[in-house]
Symmetry: C2
Subunit: 421 residues, 2 copies
């Protein structure tokens, strides 16, 4: 197979102009062209630096309103808008294998082009040079299974709630209950990092005291993803503090830290990186604007995160289930032949035992983390029964049994299914 | 005046539910609440940690289609959508004065709420603790004027074109022409950083050779913003290389580097930071989603950038002129009484002598950088005449004269106005 030496990006665009012309404008804007001819743009320069329209497929549907306002209509042009699936490519040598510069190339000014009334980046394919340059996940699925001791089935987790406002000792008390309930994984809420009301180091000290004591007593080390999001020096210090307290996971908010910060964090981190996607809505909520998760998650996987949030099926959020499924599958799909960079998808938001069958069907694997809040603690017999019920639900689906059948002689699951009708 | 101790954010939201209820859901989701009641959410905890709805104003207009799809309609609820201007506030102690954690609080999960069919962050007001924690611009307007030697009027600039594909020596040849044409400022295109086709260090060596020689000969040191966007270690190395070659400016792409990387860059940079906003379209292009520039630019100003791109009036991009004006004015509006953090707005994209009157009217000041490409090099008498014409256009507007009058005995301006009809 020929070594891929061009960067490829797939988009959906919408325009009142000729879609091919719009695609060529994008290619020009994002490489050697500009809106007026310039003297230096010689055929030889174009040959080495120009982006190419590799494929274009005009979609049948015509649209009577532009998806985004302020889009231009060409003089004498159609008053209808058409959509097209477009693939552009760039020579690797324009940017080299640099993730930050890749962003300016595939996701830069082009979203502002007047000619487009819609543009969304759907997918990316990168030359192997990116895999050589960036580490990918250091822990991923095997590392997470090893550190949690969960060899089969999903990693069953929860989130500290209330999201923000608990003091360190209150957090630790909740963690004690969760450890005793048999949980595998706990995470800070993304709102909780190092506010004066619950300082990071105090929280780590209190929580790891509980977790380490529980591990000493039972042999089970619960994984806690501490949210160390902050400035770089803070993240370094917090990381070292986590190591010193035998923590086994850290969490960071991707849109708060940004790409260069995450690359740097992954370089020095000796712990799995649980990546939170809060803010994802502003990047993706309009279907004709921004990023698809399939493209977006590739950036962070190469950068080196280990767990990626994908929302959950039938969640409290607006996202459609097919989109959640596509996101989770993308996380489990290898990026490069020799370096798959697969990460563990994290299902969250309103998740419970009832979601296990559809989630398993969607992903086709149990290599996932599920974090349930209400779905665990709202169990009529308490948190331990909530954890047990969620685990039993997954046992059932992996065995190919219905939840109702499996619940017959398993009261924890039976009561969970009754209570979350 | 009472010291502000709460973080405040203004939004516009759209919902099929009661707008007040939607605002309260946002406040809950982004602080101590969640979608089910949780045991720990005591009145005392709410008192110290809950976000508050400070103000809500339902806008008159009803909307018959949701702005964003997949939004929920309440059972028995209206089939129309209403919009409201909402102000939320949070106790500073939830996050402390941390820009990365501020993002998760004011711009986190809330864009994904099913209850909202539109949500845009319009503005932010931060307690003084943020000004104490973060540096703000190190150079800003006075530092840029001092380094360019441009004491009056706008800093007249241009962008290297073709955007990408020129070799270092070709770039330097273009810079030589621009220096001789009397330009004040030149920038790399955001597509050009350190690709193998035009390595950063080779480009700096070639370009600074020209600029330093020109400065030695004429006393005028042209400011060149070298795009050092890259991983953190690369940015450090490139920064030091710029210093060693007596460069006077660096450029970085905000959405490529991200917040933590930019904070770190501003900490070690001894040069003005020219911040490029490419990718801004995916954050802002839909009017009921994402970020307004007024809110967004505050984050980067505090982080320490010196120049912020604001697009240009009547540009090649989709943005409306009023939005460009609001962005530029925002950059010049003090953020804190004792620490204004004002930055130099950069007008670009299809700019020419003709844009000077409207731009001056919009900003009410010449504390700006204007970068014109075609607007300079397309001048019939060449680049020097192009630079002169642009400078003369600004002299005219500052003197309160019409371009046509001022052009009467100024052939450079006259020909510019003829050629860009």
């Amino acid at each position: 197979m020929e070594q891929q030496t061009r960067i490829e990006a797939d988009y959906i665009l919408e325009t009142a102009s000729d879609p091919r012309h719009a695609a060529e404008t994008m290619a020009g804007e994002q490489s050697s062209g500009t809106f007026v001819p310039v003297p230096g743009e010689t055929p030889e320069l174009k040959q080495r630096a120009a982006a190419r329209v590799e494929a274009i497929r005009v979609l049948d549907e015509e649209v009577w309103e532009p998806s985004l306002p302020f889009a231009g209509v060409p003089k004498g042009g159609a008053a209808t808008w058409r959509r097209a699936a477009v693939t552009l490519s760039w020579p690797l040598d324009n940017v080299g294998p640099s993730l930050p510069n890749l962003l300016a190339t595939v996701a830069g000014n082009l979203f502002e082009l007047k000619q487009l009334s819609g543009l969304r980046l759907l997918d990316l394919r990168l030359p192997d040079a990116f895999a050589e340059k960036y580490p990918g996940p250091n822990f991923g699925v095997p590392g997470t299974r090893q550190l949690t001791g969960v060899q089969d089935g999903p990693v069953i987790g929860t989130i500290i709630k209330p999201s923000v406002g608990l003091r360190p000792e209150e957090t630790a008390a909740l963690v004690r209950d969760l450890c005793e309930a048999g949980i595998d994984f706990i995470k800070d809420d993304e709102l909780q990092s190092d506010g004066p009301a619950c300082p990071f180091e105090d929280r780590v000290r209190a929580v790891m005291g509980v977790i380490n004591a529980h591990a000493d007593r039972t042999g089970k080390k619960v994984m806690y993803a501490f949210n160390l999001t902050g400035d770089l020096d803070q993240m370094r210090r917090r990381h070292d503090f986590l190591l010193a307290h035998n923590a086994t996971c850290l969490m960071a908010s991707l849109n708060s830290v940004g790409l260069v910060g995450m690359i740097e964090l992954a370089r020095f981190s000796q712990l799995p990186i649980h990546a939170h996607r809060n803010g994802w809505g502003y990047l993706s909520r309009h279907p004709l604007l921004g990023w698809s998760y399939v493209a977006w998650q590739k950036i962070w996987r190469l950068a080196g995160v280990d767990h990626m949030h994908v929302n959950g099926l039938q969640s409290k959020f607006a996202e459609a289930d097919e989109s959640v499924t596509a996101s989770a599958r993308a996380c489990a799909t290898p990026m490069f032949d020799y370096k798959p960079c697969t990460v563990m998808p994290v299902f969250s938001s309103g998740q419970s035992a009832r979601h296990a069958p559809a989630t398993y069907m969607a992903l086709g694997s149990t290599d996932l983390i599920v974090t349930a809040g209400g779905g665990i603690i709202a169990h009529p017999d308490g948190t331990a029964a909530g954890v047990t019920a969620l685990r039993q639900a997954w046992e059932a689906v992996v065995a190919g049994l219905s939840l109702t059948d499996y619940a017959r002689d398993r009261p924890a699951l039976a009561k969970a299914l009754e209570s979350i009708s």
